[in-house]
């Protein structure tokens, strides 16, 4: 903050930080604190670094505000205006409000697609390199890069996995009590909303029905939290909005229980006293056995319902979503659809077990159907071909004869190590050996000239990879039948030319001057570009006529 000018949006005097008096400032991008009699900021935190802010409880003697950063460090500010305690609280609340607004603004500043792009570049090293080579050097514009090149990478990366819903998301919505007058405040984020919608499709339907024609967003959520649906223990008049949801959920629950009963993997028969099918929408389904207290049974049922909802939300496919929406619109028609899953579930227990214990990705590579090899000339195949040599192999009789010679020679042989090596022969061999070694050393030196220094090699790889990418796009334009393709072709041709001027030529100069390389080091690459250019010129000449 020091150094650059920023407008101060809010200044609060008499704020203590680590037992020092000072002022708290909020600017467009950060929060800062400056000690009295000082002109530098002792604390300066970007809003984007702040995870959350906390305030001291109502009853505490000190009026404090704490900001928690992403790395879990905290800064605590103590508001201590000498005027009055109310003033302290007011100042604190003002700061808090403002800070919340600013943080909100900051959070939305990097648009989603920018974050997405950054993530793509981070995840994909090659793409990042291409980006640096092509966009940073202004060979092609950023937009084009994302439109033309990155899309292919994106496609090759496979579908993104959707984030699941935390099992405790409802419990995580922590209401804040006002303390004095029993007011309860819920803070709802878009994440929570989508989680609720995903888990309770009925609520989503209600939401689309009621908001904003019949009530405001805030009112809807207030009613939701007040309703019996959300909290069993509250009674209020707004029941009518969500009572249908409960009915729908019960229907859904019946269906799930039914399918679960047919599942040999989970033995639930014990917890049902009555056949669940016979009862319409009753608590008995959850099981009177589960607890003698009907309240407990209800709670357990609700818990189970929620868990099922969360599990389902995770495995929703598009098709199911559509089906569920249809179902939610017309909850009474559901039983008609019941017959189907029952038939489907009638799999044998063995098949189900098989299904459960086998994992695709743990199994070995699928058996490849191997064609049998019929060998016509087995001997030839097994021994393999050998070169006919001019050397005559020995005749068997000859071998027998030599064997006799050898046997007699060996039989009169006793190991005598003192007289094994003739000194003259050894000296000659040593000379020859040294000669060969010396020759080897000199020739090895000249041979290493073929190899590039590691750094240059790496750079060459990069140049090749980028140029290859461009060339691929160039050739992808052929045949240029549509105007878009023609336009792209023109553009790619220009791009190639620019790449040649800005990257390849300097690289070659560098290789030749700094590394003393052969001039033809890039001949192959230049050849490829020339072919592309010729093709382009030919096409242009033909088309202009």
């Amino acid at each position: 903050m020091s150094g650059e000018r920023e407008d101060i949006l809010l200044q609060v005097n008499h704020v203590r930080y680590k037992k020092n008096n000072g002022q708290l400032y909020l600017s467009q991008s950060r929060v800062g604190w400056m000690m009295d009699d000082s002109d530098t900021f002792a604390v300066s935190v970007q809003y984007s670094d702040i995870r959350t802010q906390k305030i001291s409880p109502e009853g505490k003697p000190k009026v404090q505000l704490q900001i928690v950063l992403h790395d879990m460090t905290t800064h605590t500010f103590h508001f201590c205006t000498p005027e009055s305690r109310d003033k302290q609280v007011a100042e604190r609340n003002q700061t808090k409000e403002r800070l919340a607004q600013l943080m909100d603004k900051r959070k939305r500043l990097p648009p989603d697609d920018l974050v997405e792009k950054k993530r793509m570049l981070d995840e994909n090293e090659q793409l990042c390199q291409l980006y640096r080579d092509l966009v940073a050097t202004e060979i092609i514009s950023g937009d084009e890069f994302w439109k033309e090149i990155a899309v292919q990478y994106k496609n090759s990366m496979g579908p993104n996995q959707e984030m699941g819903i935390s099992g405790a998301f409802l419990a995580d919505i922590k209401p804040q009590t006002d303390g004095s007058n029993g007011k309860v405040q819920y803070n709802i984020t878009p994440e929570i909303m989508s989680a609720v919608f995903k888990t309770y499709p009925a609520v989503k339907k209600k939401h689309s029905e009621y908001v904003p024609h019949r009530m405001s967003e805030a009112e809807f959520w207030t009613r939701f939290f007040q309703s019996h649906y959300y909290s069993v223990h509250t009674n209020s008049g707004s029941e009518n909005v969500f009572s249908e949801c409960a009915k729908y959920d019960d229907k859904e629950w019946n269906r799930d229980v039914l399918s679960a009963r047919n599942d040999p993997m989970c033995d639930l028969t014990d917890i049902y006293e009555d056949k669940p099918m016979s009862i319409e929408n009753d608590i008995r389904i959850a099981g009177a056995k589960a607890g003698s207290n009907i309240m407990h049974a209800t709670m357990i049922k609700r818990f189970n319902q929620q868990s099922v909802g969360i599990l389902k939300a995770h495995t929703y496919t598009e098709k199911e979503k559509v089906l569920d929406e249809l179902a939610a619109q017309n909850p009474d028609s559901l039983p008609n659809g019941d017959a189907e899953p029952v038939v489907e579930v009638q799999k044998s227990k063995k098949a189900r077990l098989e299904e459960k214990i086998s994992y695709n990705d743990l199994e070995g590579p699928s058996k490849v159907e191997s064609a049998s090899l019929t060998i016509n000339q087995t001997h030839r195949y097994l021994t393999g071909p050998t070169e006919y040599t001019s050397m005559q192999s020995l005749e068997p009789q000859q071998v027998t004869l030599l064997q006799h010679h050898l046997a007699t020679e060996v039989s009169c042989w006793t190991p005598n190590l003192t007289d094994t090596q003739d000194p003259d022969a050894a000296y000659l061999q040593l000379q020859r050996f040294s000669d060969v070694c010396r020759r080897g050393r000199t020739s090895a030196g000249s041979r290493s000239g073929d190899e590039l220094p590691r750094k240059l090699h790496k750079e060459l790889t990069l140049v090749y990879s980028s140029a290859g990418e461009l060339l691929r796009h160039f050739w992808a334009c052929f045949p240029p039948r549509t105007p878009q393709l023609q336009e792209k072709l023109h553009k790619m041709h220009q791009t190639l030319g620019r790449y040649h001027d800005r990257t390849i030529r300097p690289f070659r100069d560098m290789a030749v001057n700094d590394y003393n390389c052969n001039v033809n080091i890039l001949d192959h690459l230049l050849g490829m570009i020339n072919i592309a250019n010729t093709k382009y010129e030919n096409w242009k000449a033909r088309n202009c006529r």
């Binding site: 019929t374 060998i375 195949y381 021994t383 071909p385 050998t386 020995l394 064997q403 090596q421 070694c437």
Partner: protein, 279 residues
């Protein structure tokens, strides 16, 4: 030359062809034994094994399957070295005495190398603390052959490469491309000598240091190895050939069907004709 010592398995060719130059027989055998002694004397931890191969059989000359026996000292030599010498001589004489009808004339070196690989593998297994043994195989070859065991050799080399055992090759007389390939594949040295008189000197210079030590020494540069395969049809070496996609037989020219596995190749000729017609 590490402190752990190394295992040297020598595969020695004792083909009857040795007797073509009778004056060198003793020198050859003495050199082999001298090098075994040299290796053993170099470090207390070193071990040696010797496998002989001729056209008829392969046999462990040392260690003997009957087990070790302790001799009394003779001529002030180390008992151990003396015992090695004697058991080698004894087994070799026994091996030479056996005369059978000659079915094939080539030295069974590939089998002997296989046994050497198995032996080092077994030693490794027998170690109480399992670790990679510092072992290598040295093949000394004196006979000439036509390489009818081509595939056996190649399979052996590939196994050696897989288990990381280096095969050194020392050939006396004419060059042997097949063994040279083996040394190259498994990471050993190959050397071809003119005659037996310089054998021991060469062995000591080229093959005494173990694999790790060699990197620090200046060895003669390896010659380029000829890996060309011979074709199945004319048995000539081909620079560029055609390979059957079904059974991998090599042919020196385009053939319409593979004579090894009777597969008929689909040629692209009809397609080309159709294209021409279109134009």
């Amino acid at each position: 030359m590490t402190g752990d010592g190394s295992v040297l398995v020598m595969v020695v060719d004792v083909h009857p062809q040795m007797a073509e130059q009778p004056e060198y027989i003793h020198s050859y055998l003495n050199s082999v034994i001298a090098f075994a002694n040299y290796h053993l004397a170099f470090s207390r931890m070193n071990k040696v094994a010797l496998i002989a191969a001729n056209h008829h059989e392969t046999r462990f000359l040392y260690p003997q399957p009957t087990g070790e026996k302790v001799d009394r000292q003779k001529d002030g030599r180390l008992e151990y070295l003396n015992h090695v010498d004697e058991s080698i001589a004894e087994e070799l004489k026994d091996m030479m005495c056996k005369t059978q009808s000659v079915k094939q004339t080539e030295s069974l070196l590939s089998g002997a190398i296989c046994r050497a690989l198995l032996y080092t593998k077994r030693l490794e297994e027998e170690e109480t603390i399992k670790k990679k043994l510092n072992s290598r195989i040295l093949v000394i070859k004196i006979s000439t052959d036509t390489g009818s065991q081509y595939l056996n050799y190649i399979n052996t080399y590939l196994s050696a490469q897989k288990i990381g055992a280096a095969i050194d090759v020392c050939v006396i007389g004419s060059d042997c491309g097949l063994l040279q390939q083996g040394a190259d594949i498994s990471g050993g040295y190959y050397c071809c000598l003119q005659d037996v008189s310089e054998l021991l000197q060469s062995l000591v210079m080229m093959y005494q240091p173990d694999i790790a030590t060699r990197k620090k020494l200046n060895a003669p540069p390896p010659e380029s190895v000829d890996y060309r395969a011979a074709c199945f049809c004319h048995h000539t070496l081909v620079d560029m050939g055609n390979v059957c996609s079904n059974c991998l037989s090599v042919y020196c020219r385009t053939v319409p069907l593979c004579s090894t596995c009777d597969v008929i190749f689909q040629t692209d000729r009809p397609v080309m004709k159709a294209l021409k017609r279109k134009k």
